[in-house]
Symmetry: C2
Subunit: 309 residues, 2 copies
Amino acid sequence: SKANEPHSAPPVEHYFMNNVTQSRNPAENKEKVLILTPLARFYQAYWDNLNKIAYPHDLISLGFIIPKTKEGNQAYADLQKQVTKTQSGPKAKRFASITILRQDTENPLMSQNEAERHKMENQKARRAAMAKARNSLLFTTLGPTTSWVLWLDADIVEFPPTLIQDLADYDAPIVAPNCFQRYYNNDKKAMDVRPYDYNNWIDSSTAKEMAAKMGKDDILLEGYAEMPTYRTLMAMMHDPSADPGTKIKLDGVGGAALLVKADVHRDGAMFPPFPFYHLIETEGFAKMAKRLNWDSYGLPNYLVYHYNE
Amino acid sequence: SKANEPHSAPPVEHYFMNNVTQSRNPAENKEKVLILTPLARFYQAYWDNLNKIAYPHDLISLGFIIPKTKEGNQAYADLQKQVTKTQSGPKAKRFASITILRQDTENPLMSQNEAERHKMENQKARRAAMAKARNSLLFTTLGPTTSWVLWLDADIVEFPPTLIQDLADYDAPIVAPNCFQRYYNNDKKAMDVRPYDYNNWIDSSTAKEMAAKMGKDDILLEGYAEMPTYRTLMAMMHDPSADPGTKIKLDGVGGAALLVKADVHRDGAMFPPFPFYHLIETEGFAKMAKRLNWDSYGLPNYLVYHYNE
Ligand SMILES: Nc1nc2c(ncn2[C@@H]2O[C@H](COP(=O)(O)OP(=O)(O)O)[C@@H](O)[C@H]2O)c(=O)[nH]1
Ligand SMILES: Nc1nc2c(ncn2[C@@H]2O[C@H](COP(=O)(O)OP(=O)(O)O)[C@@H](O)[C@H]2O)c(=O)[nH]1
Ligand SMILES: [Mn+2]
Ligand SMILES: [Mn+2]
């Protein structure tokens, strides 16, 4: 329409929230999916797999939040290039909409290699910053018609094209696949897989006792020898010979790949940047969802793969 | 544009969050304000005052959430009628956009008169439901360009047209005017004003001791003789002869009228529907914001008025 045409009346939108279903057949029911990715580094394999997602792209919106760092600038440039390509390519492959947020906070702890960022003393500040980034992205992109939120880290470089349907079919409020990593096994002299994400776990009495004795602002972390929690880690439960559809209940979840019914977030479930029951970020999210009567589940034998630095 | 024209490339939107300022001169800086109202009953005086707001209406978006009750249906019909009028009226008076959500949950505790809904045993479930309604509204309407969120209950029937500028000028992350009520004073045989909202308070050692001794899921409530907290209530601090600009720090806030910098919400501050440090809903919100390092303030001598049933 012409720029100097009189403006029509501004939009008034009505939404009946009970029409925003979250069913086992999301594509048939035309349920909208919001894929949210905090992005510090761009990986082409992540984008290629996103393009291959077998869920109708016109029902998918993408949201990114990118840190205000040199590394973030590079990721932003790389992403923009691919976004332009996809959104001007074949119609059926275009996504409904794409939102890219550049963070306004700089975080010195963020541009780190795997070893550095996993150091225990760096975890609390780092994960608090990640939690705020996730909240910022969530609060500003979730819409009244969003049925599902798929959290997908930018370094998840391999996942099945049917990821959305596969996860939705479990009809779980929150469901996490198992996040593994490919590597070269020197003993076997061959490529192999190993667990990557330790944030998907079932609580233990040891962890509960540790939490009870902690200072009120201390947090429990998973995957650190200095802090043995004896939680049951989904990463360790992977069994290629068992039922691929196995589903277990979880008390803590990771955010690498996580499908969430939008109503869970709408009720108020976010990623606590502060210690919440001695948990933070995605693990705190599972606890907060639980306080809102939503359960988390995990799929030990359904794998997605994290980039190997 | 014609319905069968080829679609142009779907939108890709870029937002630089450091451009989304929250300044003392919001109108000059073209800062967008989102006014959010949980609405169970429609009051014409509320709408009339909304129309009189002296902040550029093209920078204001409105969001409503309406319960799925008979009363809600009536409120919805009344609201729609007025919305249509305003949005097709003089251009300068039209709001940038209006979003109306109909809740999918029915809450039997909701359609209550003042006496009934203020009964202590009804408060926990009622305020949890209110918290979820507020979260739902917030999570689905906050956008990447929103600078401020003004929470304004539908039964706030009198407030100055300069409310937004006045509150923003305090440069506070969270700021609450004092919510009073007009009534007929039988002793004076004249109209008078009295405090209405007791949720704006400064914490007391008594309340802290009570909280420390409570069961973990119990909540503290304000304004109940059965539960004397000895908190300092802003409602009681009103002094017409004192500095009208007086600002005090608060530990708990009400939601009747509350200006919040959008970054506070973006960091994750929401209305806990579960006991959070023994607080719930708007009072829990202030505590959660505090955990995110955002302070709440109140204006004892700046009045807005609640409807008198
Ligand atoms: N927006 C934003 N994203 C980040 C930041 N740091 C890391 N990320 C992204 O957040 C996700 C998880 O971070 P990562 O460092 O891979 O966590 P890890 O795999 O658990 O060690 C990845 O997609 C990163 O690209 C940050 O400071 N801001
Ligand atoms: N969406 C929604 N709004 C409600 C509900 N109950 C009350 N409200 C609105 O929420 C605000 C606060 O509720 P109200 O009952 O006035 O609380 P009080 O003044 O603190 O007793 C008002 O604007 C009500 O119209 C509900 O169940 N759903
Ligand atoms: Mn990673
Ligand atoms: Mn009220």
